[in-house]
C-alpha cells in the first residue's frame, strides 16, 4: 500500500452575491480507497464526480473537510506522522517531492515563455536546487524519449504528444514514488495517446512507480490499470481488480458505465443499459444512495439510507442489493 484514504471529504462552500454561505458542493463525500504500491489504480467516473478534487486533496493542495489520508511507508519515510492531514509544513514539502503530478489541462501546464530546460527543472529550483540543472534536464528528456539537444526550445516548437512528454519529465524531476495522472491523454489523438501510454508503462517498470490514473475513458483505464475505483457524485461505489471490474461489474452504476462504453467490434453491438436522466449536481446530491434516482434496481430503502462501501473477495461495493 502506498496510500489509503478513509472517508475523505471535501466540501466547497457556495456563496451568494453578498459572500454568505448558502450551501455546499460536496465534491468528495466520503471516499475510501487503497492505492497499491508499484501498481496502477484507475479512478473512473463522469464529469464532476470529484476525480480532480481527489487528486488535489491527495497532493495536499486542498485541505480535506473530513476523513484522513494514510501514507504508506514509501511516502511516510522520515516524516513525523503518517497522516497527510497531520503533517507540518516542512514535512508537507518533503512529501510533495515524493508525489509527482500531471494535470488535466494540457495547454495551461507549460508556460509558453519558458525554455524546456527551465520547465523540466522548475520543481528542482522550487525545492532549492541550483546546481547540475542542465545535466538533470538532459537526463529527464532522455527518460521520456525526447531529444536531449532540444533543451533550448520553447513549448510551441513541440507537437501535442511531445509537450505531454515534457509535462511528464517535469513530474519526474524530483524522483517521486507516486505519480498522479489526471486525464494524461484526453487531449491527444489515438496514435499519439498510444505513445504516451506506452511511455508511462515503461517508466513504471523502470522506476517502480505507483500510479493514480484518472480518466473517463474506460478503454484506456482497462488497458493501464491493475485496480479500478468507480466514483459517482463524490463517492466510490465500487473498487475491484480491473479485469474483474470490466468482466463482471457489480454495482449497477459500474454496470451501466461499462455497458455504455462503445464496443470496438461492430458485430458485438449489444443491448445497452441506457440510464435515464442526468448526473445530479453535487451541490444537491440525492438522499440515501446518490445513484438511486437513475438506478434500474433501486428499492425504497435506497432513497433513505446510504449504503456503506462493503468489502468482500477482493472488491468493495456500495449498494444495498449487491
Amino acid at each position: 500500500m502506498i496510500l489509503r484514504t478513509h472517508g475523505l471529504a471535501k466540501h466547497f462552500p457556495i456563496r451568494d452575491f453578498l459572500g454568505r454561505v448558502e450551501g455546499q458542493v460536496r465534491a468528495l463525500d466520503g471516499v475510501t480507497l487503497t492505492l497499491p504500491e508499484g501498481k496502477t489504480l484507475g479512478i473512473v467516473g463522469e464529469s464532476g464526480c470529484g476525480k480532480t478534487t481527489l487528486a488535489r486533496t491527495l497532493l495536499g493542495l486542498e485541505a480535506p473537510t473530513a476523513g484522513s489520508v494514510e501514507l504508506g511507508p514509501a511516502l511516510a519515510d522520515g516524516l513525523a506522522r503518517d497522516r497527510l492531514e497531520e503533517l507540518r509544513l516542512g514535512d508537507l514539502r518533503r512529501l510533495r517531492r515524493r508525489i509527482g503530478v500531471v494535470f488535466q489541462d494540457p495547454l495551461g501546464a507549460l508556460n509558453p515563455r519558458m525554455l524546456v530546460k527551465d520547465l523540466v527543472t522548475e520543481p528542482l529550483v522550487i525545492h532549492g536546487q541550483t546546481r547540475g540543472l542542465r545535466d538533470r534536464a538532459r537526463e529527464l528528456l532522455e527518460l521520456v524519449g525526447l531529444n536531449p539537444d532540444h533543451l533550448y526550445r520553447f513549448p510551441h516548437q513541440f507537437s501535442g504528444g511531445q509537450r505531454q512528454r515534457i509535462v511528464i519529465a517535469r513530474a519526474l524531476a524530483l524522483e517521486p514514488q507516486l505519480l498522479v495522472l489526471d486525464e494524461p491523454t484526453s487531449a491527444l489523438d489515438v496514435s499519439v495517446q498510444a505513445q504516451i501510454l506506452n511511455l508511462l508503462q515503461q517508466l513504471q517498470r523502470r522506476l517502480g512507480l505507483s500510479f493514480l490514473f484518472i480518466s473517463h475513458d474506460l478503454a484506456v483505464v482497462k488497458h493501464m490499470c491493475d485496480r479500478v475505483a468507480v466514483m459517482y457524485l463524490g463517492r466510490v461505489v465500487e473498487e475491484a481488480d480491473a479485469a474483474q471490474l470490466f468482466a463482471n461489474p457489480r454495482h449497477p452504476y459500474s454496470q451501466a458505465l461499462v455497458s455504455a462504453t462503445p464496443e470496438l467490434d461492430p458485430a458485438r453491438r449489444q443491448a445497452r443499459i441506457v440510464l435515464e436522466g442526468d448526473v445530479p449536481s453535487p451541490a444537491a446530491p440525492p438522499s440515501g444512495c446518490h445513484f438511486h434516482p437513475r438506478c434500474p434496481i433501486a428499492v425504497d430503502n435506497c432513497a433513505v439510507e446510504y449504503p456503506e462501501l462493503r468489502e468482500g473477495d477482493g472488491c468493495a461495493v456500495a449498494c444495498h442489493l449487491v
Binding site: E46, S47, S159, G161, D189, V190, S191, V192, Q193, A194, Q195, L197, N198, H216, D217, L218, A219, V220, K222, H223, M224, A256, L257, S259, A260, T261, P262, E263, L264, D265, P266, A267, R269, R272, V274, L275, E276, G277, D278, V279
Partner: protein, 314 residues
Amino acid sequence: MLRVENLVTRFHTYDGVVRALEGVSFEVREGEIFGLVGETGCGKSVTTYSTLRLLPSTGRVHSGRITLSGESLLDASESRMREVRGGEIAMIFQDPLSALNPVMRVGDQIAESVWLHDDLPDADAVAVRVEEVLGEVRMPDPAGAARAFPHELSGGMQQRVMIAMALAGRPKMLIADEPTTALDVTIQSQVLQLLRQLKQEAGLTVLLITHDLGVVAELCDRVAVMYAGTIVETAPVEELFSDPKHPYTQGLLAALPGASETLAPVPGRVPDLLAPPSGCRFHPRCPLAVDRCRAEAPELRGDTRQVACHEVEP
C-alpha cells in the same frame, strides 16, 4: 443522396496556402448513418463546411463536385443554399451551448426553425409542432423544456434541443459534427441511442463526423477514414474493423486501447498541411511505402470497399 467528388479546399493564410482537402470523395446513401472518422486536423469539419458552403472568407473550394439528390450545391445560388441549410440538410455541432441563444427560451428557438421551414397556419400550430419535435428527441418533459433557458438544461438535454432544432425543418439529412464529444459516457449513450432510433423510425440519413472509432463501431453503417485531407479508405463498418486494408487504418486500430495487449503507436506525426508530403500524404509514416508512393498520389479505387494506396488492393 449526398455525393462529394474530388473535393479540393484550400485556405489562403499569411503563412501560405493550407491544402486542407486534396481530392475528397465519398457518398452518403439514403437512410444510412455514414461515418467520417479521422484524427484532429484531418479535414472533417472543413469537408462539411465546404459542403454547406460555410467556409470562412480565407477558404475556397478549388475544384470538385458536391451533389445533393443530383443537384449541384457548388453551383446553387446563395438563396437556394439558405433553403438547403436547415431545410434539406440540418447540422448539429460539438458544443451545444455555444450554438444556442442563451437569452431565448428553448421553445422559441425551435419555433424559429419551424417558422423558417414549415408552412404552419398560426402560432398555436407552431407550439404544437415544437412540443412534437421535443417529444421526438425523447425529452422527458417537452412542455417544461420548451419554457426553459439553455443554461437550465444539462449537457445531454442541450444536445437534444440541438437535435430537435435540426429536426424541426424536417431535413432529409443530418450532419452531426462530433455530437457526443462533450458529453459523459452515459449521456453519450443516450444520444447515440436517439440517433439510432431516428434512423430506424424516421428513416433519417446521417453524416456523422467523429474522431472516436468506438462511436463509429457503435452507430455507423458505412465509414470513410480520413488522413491529412484525403480519404484513405471506405468500407462497411464491420469490414473496416475486421479487415482494415489501408496501412493508416491498420495503424489507427492497432493504436487503440482494447484491441490488443500492447499498443502500437503510429510512428511519426501528422503532416503540416502548409507543406504536405508529395505523393501519398501518408508515405513518411507508412511501413509499406515504396518509391512510387513519394511521387504519385494514390487514387481511391474499388467498389463497396475503397482504398487509396499503391500497395494494397481494395
